[in-house]
Amino acid sequence: MKTLVWVEHDNASVKDATLSAVTAAASMGDVDLLVAGKGVRAVAEQAANIEPARKVLLADDAAYEHALPENLAPLVVGLMQGYDAFVVPATTTGKNVAPRVAALLDVMQLSEIISVEGRKTFTRTIYAGNAVATVESHDAKLVVTVRGTAFDKAAANGGSAAIEDVSGPGDAGTSRFVSAEIARSERPELTSAKIIVSGGRALKDAATFDEVITPLAEKLGAGVGASRAAVDAGYVPNDFQVGQTGKIVAPEVYFAIGISGAIQHLAGMKDSKTIIAINKDEDAPIFQVADIGLVADLFKAVPELTGKIR
């Protein structure tokens, strides 16, 4: 099978989520990569080092700078004549583009697969992770999005793929990028952090969240996450949300602080290796999944913990 993997990047470097998608694609067949953007030859050169890649297709055009799906989808559909599967990391950008490609190819997308079981057979979670379905596609071509936490990352170095220029129809003229407010954080990105410290509604307000959670995260070199309740209440920006409808994470260690453990939250973090919960309610559902639980008032326990960690 010939697969084309969509490379997620910020016009400067390849994003980690791409590497998990490459691993999934490599277990399906041959892997070529698509780098679409503006002024992205350096990104293509970086992508060419990804271990199993045979070829990097480079579409360098202002129309692709902001990954607008109206412009990208026709480009991909043209390229898919030569491929059996389009494989995309299940990031917000990937999820924006892939279904548009699938519809134009008249195929059903397989969303957020967590394993490759056979040529056209995959597993994916449904109902907020409360069930795992094994699904088989009957379409001629596949469009697949890949959950990053479910696959190891392919080696970013060691490959030597050839770079080939390609082009598509360019600007569809129906959408325009206006602006982006991308938070620059000193903390590691959630989807690749080894340790995550998450806070919930109990943190009261933005200032308290920052006073209690951030120092612990700093001490541990951890990423900072949150429950939906904490995001809705404005303690932290939307991209901190962990859960069914936020980010899916699986770090080595996940701290759930003042988070009750609603199924929608668990859906986003229950594949973490070790879960540590601090909650004052000993019956909180989070304790049913926690490896280490501490029943305590977080406003006392967390500063004490931060102080006692070397």
Partner: protein
């Protein structure tokens, strides 16, 4: 401008889904079903746009079993003008691609300026119907909307993306999918629930639109995920620190 809002009847978000013993799927008999929460947000946004004078008429549509009429009535009670149910048998699950094709056929007739959908349904978590509809209509899409402003012939959508927020401007007609923070849906008042009963609800079938809804994806089996067993309780912070040290992180 007319707004089209597709809504799906799904398991209520408070219900913990149970996998059927024979592995054929999730047991939906006798469980509470509700409107997909993201679709409530879509309905609310449409009603607000109408209240602001940006839209004249709102049409909701659901593809689902006869019981999806309840979901449509809920939308009518929130302020929607009329409803269309594309009825399928109880056991039939229509895939997003087929849903998008039916919605496209309806959009061809209704000519909406805006189609507002949920970003994902909380049942199958596919997150694809809106994008597919946009592709089939060859119109722009603003997914995961945090705010929606209709100005002249365009809609400005602020989107929730991995790194933060992104704003795009789309030429109408356009497709928008809702994220959690777009608005807080209203509760329908009793008088409005009564009034909704008299609002038009048309029942159609996929065949009326000449759409083949046979599935492209076969579900071979559905199982429970591995369960995590509860671990240990520590008595105090010192004990927690000791555990963290043994994990090599403190």
């Amino acid at each position: 401008m007319k707004i089209l809002v597709p809504v799906k009847r799904v398991i209520d978000y408070n219900v913990k889904p149970r996998v059927k013993a024979d592995g054929s799927g999730v047991d939906l008999s006798n469980v509470k079903m509700s409107m997909n929460p993201f679709d409530e947000i879509a309905v609310e946004e449409a009603v607000r746009l109408k209240e602001k004078g940006k839209a004249e008429e709102i049409v909701v549509v659901s593809i689902g079993p006869a019981k999806a009429q309840d979901t449509l009535r809920t939308a009518l009670a929130m302020g929607v003008d009329r409803a269309i149910l594309v009825q399928v048998d109880d056991a039939v699950e229509v895939e997003p691609l087929a849903v998008a094709k039916i919605l496209k056929a309806i959009a061809d007739v209704e000519s909406p300026g805006l189609v507002l959908l949920g970003k994902q349904s909380i049942s199958d978590d596919s997150n694809q119907t809106g994008q597919m509809l946009a592709a089939l209509m060859d119109r722009p899409q603003g997914t995961f909307a945090n705010s929606v402003d209709v100005e002249g012939g365009a809609v400005i959508v602020k989107r929730e993306v991995d790194g933060g927020l992104e704003t795009v401007e789309l030429t109408l007609p356009a497709i928008v999918t809702t994220d959690l923070r777009l608005n807080e849906p209203r509760y329908a008042s009793l008088p409005n629930i009564m009034k909704a009963k008299a609002k038009p609800l048309e029942i159609r079938s996929p065949a009326d639109y000449d759409i083949d809804i046979s599935p492209r994806i076969a579900t071979l089996k559905v199982v429970e995920p591995p369960v995590r067993s509860a671990g240990v309780r520590v008595a105090d912070v010192d004990e927690l620190v000791a555990k963290l040290t043994s994990l090599g992180i403190a």
